[in-house]
Symmetry: C3
Subunit: 337 residues, 3 copies
């Protein structure tokens, strides 16, 4: 797709310093962009590249305009404006409706005529595939599932029986929604499996990354609210409730029955215990361990950052004595008074 | 399914305070249960809900009976009794035997007439599928595999060549059993792949959660003993041996050649080094790092819990000096004597 | 396959102490090897087993020869020699070329006549499958993909549109290459998805373990260079660049736009932040958290090892006061002077 700088500026509400009729056909990094390509500047560590960019135009903030050697589109939030520009230049391709001859669809399932069902897809009884849904090759959709309009499942997604999604949901390959939660009761040293009779309910505009798993509830449902974005390889335990517009980076583990509030940002590889609550607007730095409820919004962390292994060995040993330091320092302070 | 309170009480060996002929058709949480539904009380944090429950009956301990406004079933272990009740009310649905016309099965494979083989399944040479096995859509079973009776594989499971399972094994979607272990030898800065010629042997009554991976052994087999329960997204390295009735929560990483004893409980997102041994009856709290063998049963932990990011920054810096604190405190103590 | 000790010794350039015509048909551990089987000794913790081995021959270092009760093959690096011996005794089975009748292949795709395309595979438009490539059952290959010669994809691998691999690449089951990176921009509390228009480029001789995910780039490509080995359940974020001959153990999380140098060894379950650089020849111990660039080669660590939970509780509490210890000790030292 080709757009003029004027069209882009109007779309992102930018002040344009450059020729409005100039044609842009691609977006690229400051480093690599060339003639006919637009770029953006939102991270000061790439300042050198801004100064030497060969992009035809750059989206940036007012205070950086003078540093840029080419046409500029001035906005308040260049990263967001980049997002809108990229969506304009690279619209999601429309799929052709139709059902692959190799798909295996139960006669009781209702597939809307605008939906696309890929090769080797399996769809169970009484499942409803609504308007404009795309189901990639090899995906397996259980019984009594409802997939909301304009949703897209990439290849090899699995949805267990009874799962429901809202509209415009995106599920990437390898996602498994609705597998049994980890419900076991101990009977004299042996485990008794507890039937997981809840389901999973996913809201509108949710995106879930590759190989992420969301377990079905034990009794109630596991719930993911509108606008939640989840990256790859995240584990969401049974009866977890993730509230609106929270974003969760890759490899996070969320144990059962925990509630995560609205607009949280969970960094990669965090571990969150079960049966706790995390307030709205909480940010967790990567690899944070959360063992107890977090009741106030704010930024939290707990990871010990990498250090030379020799230093680490000494410190790790000292860590085991850490509680003695507190009492010993106190005692010295008392004696010294 | 509908059962009377009397039938349930007999099944879970409960003392019933209520009408034995009262009919129960579902199980639900204390909060949500309504007429005709049974619930249970095993976690004191939900005491408010017990007192106000609208369930028709509640499974609980003797000491809590007076707090409950409705019929009660008194048992020693309410959580276990809930498990048994749920299994009674929600029996695993029986599958119809049969082989989907879209399954691709090698003529040398032996499929028992009571087995179900779903759509788009692939089964390799000389593989044996025994009585009453269920293989979900899209699963791929290699050559020379044996799957024990009454086992259930959900959709899109992969078993590599030569893998063997016991009876009543449950494998959830996305599970991969028998991929090559991470065996590489360094040759002047380049890696040489080592053939992984062992296999994976899984015992009876093992359940493995969605997207978990269990690698085949390098020479010997990787072994998972009877009654082991593994949650989602766990990685089990080559030649690991997990002994009977151990439970492993989600996102745990277990490196190669490690042995985990009987009846252990491994919390979520733990990391366990290779070539070590963990004794029987060890419990690891979530996110614990295990670098050395654990020789005694007990509870272990190591995670630093989340704190405000400003506090964390100061403490993380101090951590690097931790070993100096020990010597400095000792010196002060010596001088002060 | 059966080989003589003489043939093996020549292949691994070993000094043979034993009968060159003796026939070996298998490789096994020191513990389990019996007549006709060869073993190796490279880890001193298994010394007892060396002394009592019933293997017919053992690959080992010069200094260990006297301890071994049977024929020996003396080399400088027994582990590497074991790798070469195993490759000799267990060559990768050759596949028959051919396309399964149940595969769904777009007419515009080019499949080389020597390639094998398994059951229920889907291949998109304009994709190129080169000589001797093996694609396992249920794999889904998008549009405009190129898979280099002699590559092997196990069952249920997914490659999104536009992904390119080099030669001799191995992708294990459940691998997802080229799913969208986690690119979202915040717009007044809601997330706007950013199109991920880069791709993934994988070099020669790369192996990627089961259920690992490698995201496509936002603008540029995500790049994995020649000889990189990645274990299971690793997450590689968008625009990550992993340089030659780096090995990454299971469950590592690598956030976006990070560069990892050549010949690094990343232990299991490490977490690596985005937008940082890790120098060549860096080793990370398992569960290390890397928040900042590592500029010098060396060994790094940060995990707190497991301890008794009572001790841990006290130390975890003290950790929150850690920064006060530094100042208090300093103050005492100053006063004591």
């Amino acid at each position: 797709m080709t757009l003029t700088l004027g069209e882009i500026a109007r779309h992102i509400k930018a002040e344009l310093y450059g020729a409005p009729e100039y044609e842009i056909h691609a977006i690229n990094t400051l480093q690599k962009a060339s003639t006919g390509e637009i770029s953006f500047f939102s991270n000061r560590r790439y300042l050198t590249w801004l100064k030497s960019t060969t992009a035809s135009a750059v989206i940036l903030s007012k205070e950086d305009r003078e540093l840029c050697p080419t046409a500029t589109l001035v906005v308040d939030n260049p990263y967001l404006a980049y997002a809108f520009t990229a969506r304009l230049l690279y619209p999601e391709p429309e799929h052709k409706p139709g059902i692959s001859s190799s798909a295996h669809i139960d006669p009781s399932a209702k597939i809307h005529s605008t939906a696309f069902i890929g090769p080797h897809v399996t769809i169970g009884t009484d499942t409803i595939i609504t308007e404009n849904v795309f189901i990639g090759a090899g995906s397996v959709i259980g019984n009594n599932v409802i997939i909301g309009t304009n949703s897209k499942l990439y290849a090899n997604v699995v949805m267990y029986d009874g799962v429901k999604t809202g509209e415009r949901v995106i599920l990437h390959s390898g996602v498994v929604i609705g597998a049994d939660g980890f419900g076991i009761a101990n009977n004299k040293g042996r485990w008794v499996k507890i039937p997981q009779i809840g389901s999973v309910v996913i809201g509108n505009d949710v995106e879930i990354g590759a190989n992420t798993t969301v377990d079905r509830g034990a009794l109630d449902n596991t719930i993911i609210d509108d606008g939640v974005k989840i990256d790859n390889q995240v584990q969401v335990g049974h009866n977890v409730h993730i509230e609106e517009h929270t974003a969760i980076a890759g490899c996070v583990a969320i144990a059962g029955s925990t509630r995560i509030g609205k607009r949280c940002i969970i960094g990669g590889a965090c571990g969150i215990s079960g049966h706790i609550e995390i307030a709205d607007d909480v940010t967790l730095m990567g690899m944070t361990g959360v063992a107890n409820s977090i009741k106030e919004s704010g930024v939290y962390a707990s990871v010990i950052p990498a250090m030379d292994v020799k230093l680490w060995r000494k410190n790790a040993v000292s860590f085991k004595q850490l509680h003695t330091f507190a009492t010993r320092i106190r005692k010295i302070e008392d004696n010294n008074q």
